[in-house]
């Protein structure tokens, strides 16, 4: 399945938007976290600044998010991970409310209660979780609901190669295969689970090799390329919509930043990121689109400007929004 011109441009634009979002976040995240503003003796304070707490950025992993979400509609479900921004953006979650949530503001998706790892947008059927492996079971549930209701909706669970070793992975794939659910399980193999490399965590070469244990198709996308992802996922989504059951897909991708911001990456070979920068999927896609006559230099400029403007506006919205009042912490436990 080849992407239409509109899909190609959409993927490119979303990748640019995600990258700029993550790079902006990386900068904003450091605000207020360094000396002399923090406790004496510290090098960095995770709890300070406008965006406190852990921060997992997905720069480098854009191809996975856009290659999948290009096939999805609002009513399709996506469940993301602790590293959720790229999925959320590609799924159409409003940038302003999402960013406000990450700033802990009242105008955020969860009124500031969820934060960066807990973005919930029921209008776009998006959610995520800070627990590794936790994305898969609820995606099965969304797919089950669609099947019960005779809707041609699908559900996508994203997860890392590290998560493929959690019990939840196994139980979910078995359920989805047994019940022939319209679910697509997309593993982002970025080689690392914090400091633990894939070969110390996954006993087979590709997570897609595990599909055989469930009798479902397993597809390995060998490159961090949105077009390859688009193709593999297109088939899986079509199968799912036709009622032919789930698919497991692994995409070889990579992360440019540390596991979280502030990660000294002692475990990572010195020049790994340098090498990966040369493989950056965004300029690669731009070059290809230009070569194929899909994108002009002028259009490229406009896309980049538009994407950046959206991101800048979202951050401005988040900054300007008010914090919730302290006592609001007591609300929303129950509806």
């Amino acid at each position: 399945m080849s992407p239409s011109k509109a899909q190609l441009l959409w993927m490119y634009e979303k990748m640019v938007e995600i990258r700029y979002y993550e790079e902006t976040m990386a900068k904003v995240y450091m605000e207020g976290k360094l000396p002399p503003h923090i406790q004496k003796g510290l090098a960095f304070d995770i709890g300070s600044g406008p965006v406190p707490g852990e921060m997992h950025l997905a720069a480098g992993q854009e191809p996975v998010a856009v290659g999948v979400c290009a096939h999805l509609r609002d009513e399709d479900t996506v469940v993301g991970t602790h590293r959720p921004h790229h999925f959320a953006i590609a799924k159409g979650v409003p940038l302003d409310k999402m960013t406000a949530e990450i700033f802990g503001k009242k105008t955020g998706l969860g009124k500031g209660k969820g934060g960066h790892m807990h973005l919930f947008d029921p209008a776009h059927n998006f959610s995520c979780s800070g627990i590794v492996g936790a994305s898969l079971p609820p995606a099965c549930g969304a797919a089950l609901a669609a099947k019960k209701r005779g809707q041609d909706r699908v559900a996508v669970a994203f997860f890392g190669e590290g998560a493929a070793n959690q019990g939840a992975f196994h139980e979910s794939l078995n359920l989805a295969a047994l019940w022939q659910l319209p679910a697509i399980f997309v593993c982002e193999d970025n080689h690392w689970a914090i400091s633990v490399p894939k070969e110390k965590a996954v006993s087979v070469a590709s997570v897609a090799d595990r599909a055989c244990a469930y009798g479902m198709p397993g597809v390995c996308v060998p490159e961090n390329d949105p077009l390859q992802v688009f193709e593999a996922v297109g088939e899986a989504v079509a199968r799912a919509r036709r009622g032919e059951g789930p698919t497991l897909i692994e995409v070889k991708t990579f992360r440019y930043f540390g596991h979280f911001q502030g990660d000294a990456e002692v475990y990572r070979p010195k020049d790994e990121v340098k090498h990966l920068r040369a493989l950056d999927p965004i300029p690669k896609l731009a070059a290809r689109l230009k070569q194929d006559g899909v994108l002009t230099a002028q259009e490229e400029e406009a896309i980049v400007a538009r994407a950046r403007q959206r991101v800048d506006e979202a951050f401005a919205f988040a900054r300007q929004s008010p914090y919730p009042a302290p006592q609001e912490a007591l609300e929303d436990v129950f509806v």
Binding site: V79, K113, H118, F120, P122, S127, A134, P137, G141, V333
Partner: protein
């Protein structure tokens, strides 16, 4: 049809049937809930009425299917998931307490998860340490779950219908020894008259099972029936115990506890969960926090499983699970207790 008596298991399966008829979004998942009818009969007859799409036998994958209930609820359905024994919570607690219980809050109230988890609790029939626990203390401790623990068929039906219609996650815990199963001894007081039509019982309202002026026994689930027997024995000795059946732990009817203890001045908490860091402590603390308006006449007394796993052997199990005679003895002790002088600073 006044006078129709149902066992608690029958009342539960009737509540399911009525709600499933009323709302096509309600469906049930769990191990052996289909043809078997639920190991404790909670789903008996349902697959025959509603078919395997709405009464789904699952693999032994509690994380998988309870997590699936979350996803299906977020998509607008109203799933019921049976965790066969509460003792198995350890294989699926993450989906329950980090997701089902928190997603509503973390979304600022934007996500509704009308999921009911039903589960069997309790011992007394020698099923040993991994099949006899109550554990509601754990679920009441972590926020975001309503926790319902009925003691009889009437309450069981009304509370279950309330649970299914609630837009929040509810953990519904039935004690095996009051289900009225044909294969397990039970307290007959748990089999009651049950109206045929659907009805609801609001959460957070304790029931005064018996009025009394001398001491308050706060209890729930199967222990209510032991307390009733104990109270009758105590009455013969001139001690009038008031018995409160909490019915739900979240929300908790603190006012009912305070009002009763304010009246009697004496508190005995009788529980089948582990004694430490749980229900008995919470009830005692609520009273301790209100000593400005409650004049205690005796130290507070707690009964529960004394912080040991549930032993298998009958004499051991009967010793660690509070029995009628333990309640009687503790109540008498409480009647003889005195609080220390001084203290009015």
């Amino acid at each position: 049809m006044a006078g129709r008596r149902l066992t608690m298991a029958e009342a539960i399966s009737e509540a399911f049937a009525q709600e499933m008829e009323r709302d096509p979004n309600v469906f049930i998942m769990g191990e052996d809930v289909g043809v078997y009818g639920g190991i404790f009969g909670a789903t008996k007859g349902l697959i025959e009425k509603f078919g395997p799409e709405r009464v789904m036998d699952t693999p032994i994958s509690e994380t998988g299917f309870i997590g699936a209930a979350i996803g299906a609820a977020a998509a607008g359905m109203r799933p019921v998931a049976e965790l066969m024994f509460v003792d198995f919570f350890g294989v699926c607690m993450d989906q329950i307490y980090n997701h089902l219980a928190k997603n509503t809050y973390m979304s600022g109230g934007n996500v509704r998860l009308p999921v009911v988890i039903t589960t069997a609790i309790g011992g007394g029939y020698n099923d040993a340490a991994q099949h006899s626990q109550c554990l509601y203390g754990v679920f009441a401790h972590v926020p975001g779950l309503k926790v319902v623990v009925p003691s009889n068929a009437y309450d069981a039906k009304g509370l279950l219908i309330e649970a299914i219609r609630d837009d929040n996650p509810v953990l519904y815990m039935f004690h095996k020894g009051i289900m009225g199963l044909p294969w397990m001894a039970y307290f007959e007081g748990s089999t009651t008259e049950v109206p045929e039509e659907p009805y609801t019982i609001p959460f957070g309202q304790a029931r005064v099972v018996r009025e009394g002026k001398d001491l308050t026994i706060v209890t729930l689930s199967q222990m209510v029936h032991k307390a009733v027997i104990a109270a009758e024995m105590l009455a013969k000795e001139g001690i009038e115990a008031e018995i409160l059946d909490l019915r739900t732990l979240v929300p908790l009817d603190r006012e009912a506890v305070l009002a009763s203890v304010a009246k009697t001045g004496r508190l005995l908490v009788a529980d089948e969960d582990y004694l430490g860091f749980g229900l008995t402590g919470e009830i005692a603390a609520i009273v301790g926090e209100h000593l400005d308006r409650i004049a205690l006449r005796a130290p507070i007394k707690r009964l529960g499983v004394p912080n040991v796993p549930i032993p298998y052997s009958r004499p051991l199990e009967q010793f660690v699970i509070p029995q009628v005679e333990h309640i009687v003895a503790a109540a008498k002790e409480t009647m003889q207790g005195r609080v220390a002088a001084g203290g009015r600073a």
